[in-house]
């Protein structure tokens, strides 16, 4: 019995190492390149990274800020992950976020007189539905008209952003003043602060619940199983009697819903008003989060926290060390590039690469004439 247990443990550890080695290597290389760039600015990378950590994890409020930033990233990461598990590329989390925020704002502002236990869930749910339908539209266009979801979701981002821009300068604009934003949502629709002395709000709980939903739905329900099988091999899914088209639409709805929740959480938890600058590109960062986290629940959680750390610590790094906060984008981009280059890092491919290179050298020496 004990032997079996140690065997299980061994297998688990090996699996964990296998799954995390690429992301960890990618993070390491990205931070290394970041450090080199910082060094060339004439700043000590060591000091800079220390400020980064202090600004993100050094105090209660710093940790709270990190989790505030991680909240929408978890959700937009799930927005990419849900679609990816069905074999789709959802580049539209940004737009789904805005549509979700719009619907949450509508319910938060115009539904009045409800107690918080009804009003808040209703507003959050509205956000989910708003983002979900926006995602579903792209899924439907793919299934019905064969329109590539990569392009349509990219295009829908900007439609949603301009739509919100229209609302906050027009119909939803707060009456007096010139600021282009809506009135605040009712207090009964605001996500409650959960850590005294910080801005940390219930949104993080929503994000964690969404992660658990992602996990249970995909790996423990029939529908989730179908979605994954369609994503892994649509032909086999069809052969086995599943309906790929219906699963694509469902997956895009859920993916959009996650993006919508990100919007609802930002709106009801942080900004309280609908505005154009609601998201500094959380929808796009979600793609990086999901990729780094290999579209797995735990991976997405850790990747979102990492990016949260970068985002919340970057400011202190700029203030104390004069490193532009935008350097974190460079690090983020490098993480993605290293993750997608994973296969040259793998040992079994290294041989193929060496062969290729030596062949090239031979060819150029031989002077092939064509």
């Amino acid at each position: 019995m004990r032997e079996q247990n140690t065997e299980h443990l061994k297998r688990f550890v090996i699996k964990a190492l296998k799954n995390t080695s690429t992301p960890l290597l990618a993070i390491f290389f990205a931070l290394l390149v970041g450090a080199i760039i910082i060094y060339f600015m004439g700043i000590s990378p060591f000091d800079a990274y220390r400020s980064l950590l202090r600004g993100s994890l050094g105090s209660k409020s710093a940790v709270a800020e990190t989790f505030i930033k991680a909240t929408p990233l978890i959700l937009t990461g799930l927005a990419f992950g849900f679609a990816y598990r069905c074999g789709l590329f959802n580049i539209g989390a940004e737009g789904q976020l805005f549509m979700g925020a719009f619907c949450a704002a509508a319910v938060g502002i115009y539904v009045k007189g409800l107690p918080i236990i009804f009003h808040l869930p209703l507003a959050v749910f509205a956000g989910f539905i708003g983002g979900g339908l926006w995602g579903l539209l792209a899924g439907w266009l793919k299934v019905r008209y064969g329109a590539n979801e990569i392009i349509t979701t990219v295009m829908f981002n900007y439609v949603a952003i301009h739509w919100v821009s229209y609302l906050v300068t027009g119909p939803l604009k707060a009456p007096p003043g010139s600021m282009p934003h809506s009135s605040p949502v009712e207090i009964t629709a605001q996500l409650t602060r959960i850590l005294p002395g910080t801005r940390l709000h219930l949104g993080i709980i929503i994000a964690l619940l969404a992660l658990i939903f992602f996990y249970i739905f995909l790996w423990y329900t029939k529908k989730g199983y179908e979605i994954r099988m369609v994503g892994l091999n649509p032909n086999a899914a069809r052969y086995a009697g599943m309906n790929p088209a219906r699963n694509i639409i469902l997956a895009m709805f859920l993916a959009g819903g996650m993006g919508g929740l990100a919007g609802a959480s930002e709106l009801l938890g942080v900004q309280h008003r609908l505005m154009q600058g609601l998201s500094p590109g959380y929808g796009f960062d979600g793609i990086a989060v999901a990729l780094l986290g290999k579209n797995s629940p735990l991976g997405i959680l850790f990747a979102a926290i990492l990016f949260g750390i970068l985002r919340s610590g970057g400011n202190l790094m700029q203030m104390l060390n004069g490193v532009p906060v935008a350097i974190i984008y460079v690090i983020q981009a490098l993480v993605i590039i290293f993750v997608v280059s994973e296969h040259i890092l793998k040992s079994e491919n290294r041989k193929v690469w060496l062969n290729k290179i030596s062949n090239k050298i031979k060819l150029s020496k031989g002077g092939s004439s064509n």
């Binding site: 229209y166 981009a333 993605i336």
Partner: protein
């Protein structure tokens, strides 16, 4: 005709062409990439890198044209990185494109802070000025609209027939199209699929650099963070709406540019019609074209698929 209206029309056309130029330049570059079977979502980031490089080039080398050259070189390098990742390593094109966008924001914002400092007081740099072509500019309406523009605008317009000819009437274009449609068939007749894709990507990226240079040395006369403001995605839309051809891209760019010019005027006049719907138009039209509601646009058959030689 009322001379006032003539002026308004001419001014509007002029503004349209000015707005359309960066979209057109980037779109022509994208036409080549996409025709060779590569989806480049990273064009926004490439353009952004072009804007800053152009300013740096103009600042240190003293002329706007040197700025364009520097922009082409730096975006060419980014193109080379992109090509290495998607052609040689066969990484997912969409993901790499997103990474390039994020890299573009990060690199330009950081570098601008380092080079220009925090105060961002714009130093004087050489920029493009409108160059009036004699005689032609006297043609009513069209004259002031077409022939009273910056040199780079003329260049962009000239590129349309040139690239059209290149793509459809030369062996170079034939190779590019063949590789994007059926790389294996191209390979069997001795075409080097990898070389063609590398060349298309790097060349296309360089054009996105020119587009960026136009933004920072033409439309504005300095760099500001995120100044591309979605024009890269509009260029992507223009390529699809223009059915992957330079002439189509010109039409789409002019249409989208007109929308942009109109919304600026509407905002300035305080019109009650919401200008945001005009801004949405390019994206909605593109989705409509992609779904085939009006004249279906079909992308090159091998679009987005890395090629593996057996």
């Amino acid at each position: 005709m009322d001379s006032n209206i003539v002026d308004i029309v001419a001014n509007f056309l002029r503004a349209d062409i000015r707005s359309a130029t960066p979209i057109l330049l980037a779109a022509i570059g994208l036409v080549f990439m996409e025709r060779s079977g590569v989806i480049n979502i990273g064009v926004e980031g490439m353009m952004l890198i072009g804007t800053l490089s152009a300013v740096i080039g103009s600042l240190y080398l003293g002329s706007a044209w040197m700025g364009v050259l520097v922009a082409m070189l730096s975006t060419g390098l980014i193109g080379l990185l992109f090509a290495f990742l998607v052609v040689t390593i066969r990484a997912n094109q969409v993901v790499v494109g997103m990474a390039i966008n994020i890299l573009g924001i990060g690199l330009t914002t950081s570098l601008a802070r380092i080079i220009f400092g925090l105060n961002m007081a714009p130093p004087k740099i050489d920029t493009f000025k409108a160059y009036t072509i004699p005689v032609l500019s006297k043609i009513p309406v069209l004259g002031p609209a077409l022939f009273n523009q910056m040199a780079i605008v003329y260049l962009a317009l000239l590129l349309v027939p040139i690239t059209h000819y290149l793509l459809f009437k030369t062996t170079i274009g034939l190779k590019v199209r063949a590789v994007g449609e059926h790389p294996k068939a191209a390979d069997t007749v001795g075409i080097n699929v990898f070389k063609v894709r590398y060349a298309s990507i790097v060349g296309g990226a360089m054009l996105s650099g020119v587009a960026g240079a136009y933004l920072s040395l033409g439309l504005l006369s300095f760099f500001s963070e995120g100044m591309v403001a979605g024009r890269g995605f509009i260029a992507l839309a223009a390529v699809i709406f223009g059915k992957w051809s330079p002439i189509g891209a010109l039409g789409a760019a002019l249409l989208f540019g007109a929308g942009d010019a109109l919304q600026i005027r509407m905002q300035a006049m305080g019109s009650s019609i919401p200008y945001q719907f005009l801004l949405m138009l390019p994206y909605i039209l593109t989705v409509v074209a992609l779904a085939g509601f009006v004249g279906k646009s079909t992308p090159p058959a091998a679009s987005g698929i890395p090629y593996t030689k057996e």
